[in-house]
């Protein structure tokens, strides 16, 4: 098809509410059409699989991270309970003072400890 003919078709295709199917076909047959290269679909699927693998790895990492955090938290809670029990056994009470080891202390003894006199 001659270039001028192609140009005419281009202009005529813009007319009206719907394009002329015959002109559209002519233009496509003349080579004015686009397509992706060979193997496009496979490349798309490979990209999707690759992304899915990365997402799986990330979620696996997050899962194992939260497992580790859970274990540390449990160990911490157990340590706090153990500490409270040992305070109760040694001091006979659980209060803020007993937690700080201040149940037997009076003001004079604290001052003497602090001033080293």
């Amino acid at each position: 098809m001659k270039t001028n003919e192609v140009k005419d078709i281009i202009i005529r295709l813009m007319e009206g509410d719907e394009p002329d199917e015959g002109l559209l076909l002519k233009l496509r047959e003349a080579g004015a059409d686009y397509s992706f290269s060979e193997g496009f679909t496979d490349r798309v699927l490979a990209s999707i699989n690759k992304t899915a693998i990365v997402i799986n790895r990330e979620s696996e990492f997050l899962r194992s991270f939260s497992n580790v955090f859970y274990r540390i938290a449990l160990t911490g809670i157990a340590a706090i309970i153990f500490l409270l029990i040992s305070i109760y056994i040694s001091q006979g009470t659980i209060s803020f003072d007993s937690f700080l080891g201040l149940t037997d202390a009076n003001n004079e003894s604290i001052i003497s400890v602090l001033t080293e006199n």
Binding site: T3, K7, I10, S35, V44
Partner: protein, 194 residues
């Protein structure tokens, strides 16, 4: 894979979407096969026939895959894909425009990037695709998209309005102005070639 892919040849879009959401890559492969040319016409029509347009085409389908679970079937699958393609392409054009504006002081850098006025090769050597490509690249993006929809996809004004989410009147006026621009561009080039 080919064997499984054939199983979906006759399937309608909703069946394919359902199977793809359930993780069947063959179903999604069939969706890609079915709509790859439509996406190519939009992306390459807007950006030119480049390797970069191929990458953007892939991105369109990756976006589709990621948003497939949100597809409620209110619009046709083709319209949904076309919207993704148009949005990604327009974003890319805007990104390029920003990039080129950093190095250029002119306002119409988009036109400069695809300046087609220098047709040094002979008219006889150029094929129809080249004429279409150059004509499209000479247009402003807002006209280019409606012209590409009509010229390459064969969409009616109503269909174009639906895809671009624009009023029909706007599409009509852009089409008319695009046609005017095309007439000038093609006429000028015809004159240059004589």
């Amino acid at each position: 894979m080919q064997k499984h892919a054939n199983k979906y040849k006759e399937a309608d879009d909703s069946e394919l979407v359902k199977a793809a959401i359930e993780g069947d890559s063959n179903a999604f492969g069939e969706i890609v096969n079915r709509y790859r040319q439509m996406v190519a016409r939009t992306v390459k029509g807007m950006l030119g026939d480049t390797v970069f347009a191929e990458d953007l085409g892939q991105e369109v389908f990756i976006n589709l895959y990621n948003s497939l679970s949100g597809f409620r079937g209110e619009a046709k699958l083709s319209t949904y894909i076309q919207r993704i393609a148009v949005n990604l392409t327009l974003n890319e054009i805007k990104r390029r425009k920003r990039f080129f504006s950093m190095f250029s002081r002119t306002d119409d850098d988009e036109v400069i990037e695809y300046n087609v006025a220098d047709d040094s090769d002979n008219e006889g050597k150029r094929d129809a695709r080249e004429v279409v490509n150059k004509a499209l690249m000479s247009l402003e993006p807002k006209f280019r998209i409606v012209v590409a929809m009509r010229m390459l996809q064969g969409y009616s004004t109503k269909e174009t309005a639906e895809i671009l989410k624009l009023p029909v009147g706007t599409v009509l006026s852009r089409l008319a102005r695009g046609q005017e621009q095309l007439k000038k561009i093609l006429k000028a080039r015809r004159y240059e070639n004589q």
